[in-house]
């Protein structure tokens, strides 16, 4: 069984993105709203959301996500408040989609979507190596099964 978690660098990247969006919002507010009080309220709100996301939600979310992969299936556990576990047999995977963002080898922002009968499994924030490994298993699962038999 292979176990893996979302890339640590993805957490850092997301934290940076959240800070960037907050600063951008603040900059726009500062530019277009002349009333200092309103800008201050926006800054406090953005800062609160920022702190909540960067130091509470995202670390908890990343800690909760883990994947377990065997020869014939993959299970994904996730959820901060509501825990969910989703298992997919590789033999039921019809096709896969890989989304790669710029500098994803460093940011860890790689996403794999496995389309199965009646739904899909989203594997978010994987390191490039883990994403490739999942795709390899999903793509060759049946061949490997035949080989083992």
């Amino acid at each position: 069984m292979i176990k893996f978690k979302p890339a640590r660098s993805a957490l850092f990247s997301l934290q940076l993105i959240v800070i960037f969006i907050s600063l951008l919002l603040l900059g726009i507010a500062r530019m277009f709203i002349p009333v200092d009080v309103i800008v201050g309220i926006i800054a406090i709100a953005a800062g609160t959301v920022d702190i909540f996301m960067d130091f509470i939600y995202l670390p908890l979310y990343f800690a909760s996500v883990r994947c377990e992969m065997t020869n014939d299936k993959i299970t994904r556990h996730s959820g901060v408040i509501f825990k969910t576990s989703q298992t997919v047999r590789f033999s039921t995977v019809q096709y896969t989609t890989l989304v790669v963002t710029p500098f994803s080898k460093h940011t860890g922002l790689n996403f794999v979507i496995m389309f199965v009968y009646g739904g899909q499994m989203l594997l978010l924030f994987l390191s490039y190596e883990d994403a490739q490994k999942v795709l390899e298993y999903a793509g060759n699962a049946e061949d490997r099964k035949k080989g083992e038999e």
Binding site: Q94, Y95, V99, F115, Y117
Partner: protein, 482 residues
């Protein structure tokens, strides 16, 4: 590694180009054919030209980044400049692959290739790429086709006459009206003028008909009638064009289908991935023992809402060649609805028809002035209600379910159409028994069977005996609690 067809770059550009539509129109209208005018025009419109160029360049780069890779086992399509989205479909998972060639793509040697699996989003194609004919041939060569030596020879070939008959039966005024509406909205002012002129002419003609004819048909009724006939004719023409030169070959494992005049489509379908086969009839077709065979298969008939496998054929013809697809037309329902349950079928429309007549007569008796106003709406209401009564009465006599060792057959009706559904038992996803308060004393129930499919596929047989329904559920290994 291959690229999409160059035409695709324009398609990518067009997604953003519409933003510039008004500056382009303004720029083109301001253009003058002399050196000074040209210089002045460039000075004024340089920003628009620059943005236009950037958008074209973006389309070109996006086209360059869109790549198709073929391996022995799978096809991969990668697109996107910064965010790379790469979709891989193994060939053995493809339920249906098709090529679509619109008439204007012929000279450009371009073809749209679509691949669909049993997964993905509802009613959408999993992979749709515009490629050159050579690349399309290379892709299609990797997808298994009907083997010539194993070809089933008994499959009836639809003639042009049968396509015409099919179009005649299945064309509806409504779809024509929808088409007209789409034309009206999309065509803008030009279409508005054309339709306006046509309506004026129709108005004048209806006036003339109303004046000369002895019948007291209201002008509005004639106008509605003419509109419906025009809409039906449009729908009829569209169906004939869509199913022109319908050809099908099969070898038991794969089915190959080609049809269409303006947009020629060629499908390759994996027979094992067919969810169910549906023999459809309307009342006239039932009397003539004619059927159309429809299949539910991912990717087949996505945009037409009518996945036709074969056009009209006599049932006797189907029996010889189509048994390999699980079509047994000689079978009779093993389980039928309760014979006293006529009200669940034809009773409701019959009661409505009677009620409309009685109420209209009562209204005329009380207010004689309404006589000339009520005739037309009453007739217009009675026709569909009586038609429904006839359809549902026949449905009551013919509905039912049969269970075989591997297959299931369901005879039922939806709206005015009769369905005979043939499916593998493994394709059943849900069995449901519904019982209303009025059915409890009679120990009857409605049985609903759900099949695997990209969209909701459920077939309901009304007023079955409860013990029969339980027996069916038991045979299908579905636990039912009533």
């Amino acid at each position: 590694m291959y690229h999409e067809h160059f035409l695709r770059s324009f398609r990518y550009s067009m997604k953003s180009l519409w933003l510039l539509i008004f500056p382009i129109i303004r720029g083109v209208s301001a253009f003058r054919f002399n050196p000074e005018g040209f210089y002045a025009w460039v000075r004024g419109a340089w920003m628009d030209i620059f943005v236009f160029g950037i958008i074209l360049l973006y389309g070109l780069v996006r086209w360059y980044c869109s790549r198709i890779t073929l391996t022995d086992n799978a096809i991969t399509h990668t697109e996107g400049i910064f965010f790379k989205i790469s979709r891989t479909i193994p060939f053995d998972k493809i339920s249906s692959a098709s090529t679509e060639t619109l008439f204007f793509l012929f000279p450009l040697r371009a073809t749209v290739v679509c691949c669909d699996t049993r997964a993905g989003f509802f009613k959408s194609t999993d992979m749709r790429i515009l490629v050159s004919r050579d690349v399309a041939n290379k892709i299609m060569s990797r997808i298994p086709n009907v083997k010539h030596e194993n070809r089933i020879k008994d499959i009836p070939v639809p003639t042009f006459r049968s396509v015409l008959l099919f179009a005649f039966f299945f064309s509806s005024g409504f779809s024509g009206a929808v088409y007209l509406a789409a034309f009206f909205f999309k065509g803008g002012d030009m279409a508005h003028d054309i339709i306006g002129m046509s309506l004026d002419r129709i108005n004048k003609t209806t006036d003339r008909i109303s004046e000369t004819a002895l019948l007291k048909i209201p002008r509005t009724a004639i106008l509605v009638g003419i509109l419906f006939i025009v809409a039906w004719l449009l729908s009829f023409t569209m169906n004939v064009v869509k199913y022109y030169k319908f050809r099908m070959t099969a070898d038991g494992e794969y089915i190959s289908i080609a049809c269409g005049l303006v947009k020629r489509r060629r499908y390759r379908i994996k027979a094992d991935h067919i969810n169910y086969t549906d023999l459809r009839q309307n009342l006239l077709m039932k009397l003539r023992r004619a059927v159309t065979i429809n299949i539910s298969c991912p990717g087949y008939g996505l945009d037409s809402n009518l996945p036709v496998l074969l056009s009209i054929n006599k049932k006797q013809k189907i029996d010889r060649g189509m048994e390999v697809f699980g079509v047994h037309t000689l079978g009779r329902p093993q389980y039928r609805p309760c014979w006293t349950s006529f009200f669940s079928y034809g009773g409701i429309p019959a009661s409505c028809a009677a009620a409309v007549y009685v109420l209209s007569q009562y209204a005329i008796e009380r207010i004689p002035f309404l006589d000339k106003y009520l005739d037309f709406p009453v007739i217009m209401l009675e026709i569909p209600l009586l038609w429904f009564t006839a359809v549902k009465t026949v449905a009551h006599r013919t509905s039912g379910i049969s269970i075989y060792s591997k297959d299931i057959m369901i005879w039922c009706s939806k709206g005015t159409a009769f369905h005979t559904v043939v499916a593998k038992r493994k394709n059943i996803v849900k069995v449901e028994i519904q019982q209303t308060i009025t059915q409890i004393p009679w120990k009857t129930c409605d049985m609903v069977i759900w099949f695997r499919g990209e969209s909701r596929s459920r077939y309901k047989v009304k007023s079955m005996y409860l013990k029969d329904a339980r027996e069916i559920a038991e045979k299908l290994h579905h636990d039912i609690l009533v």
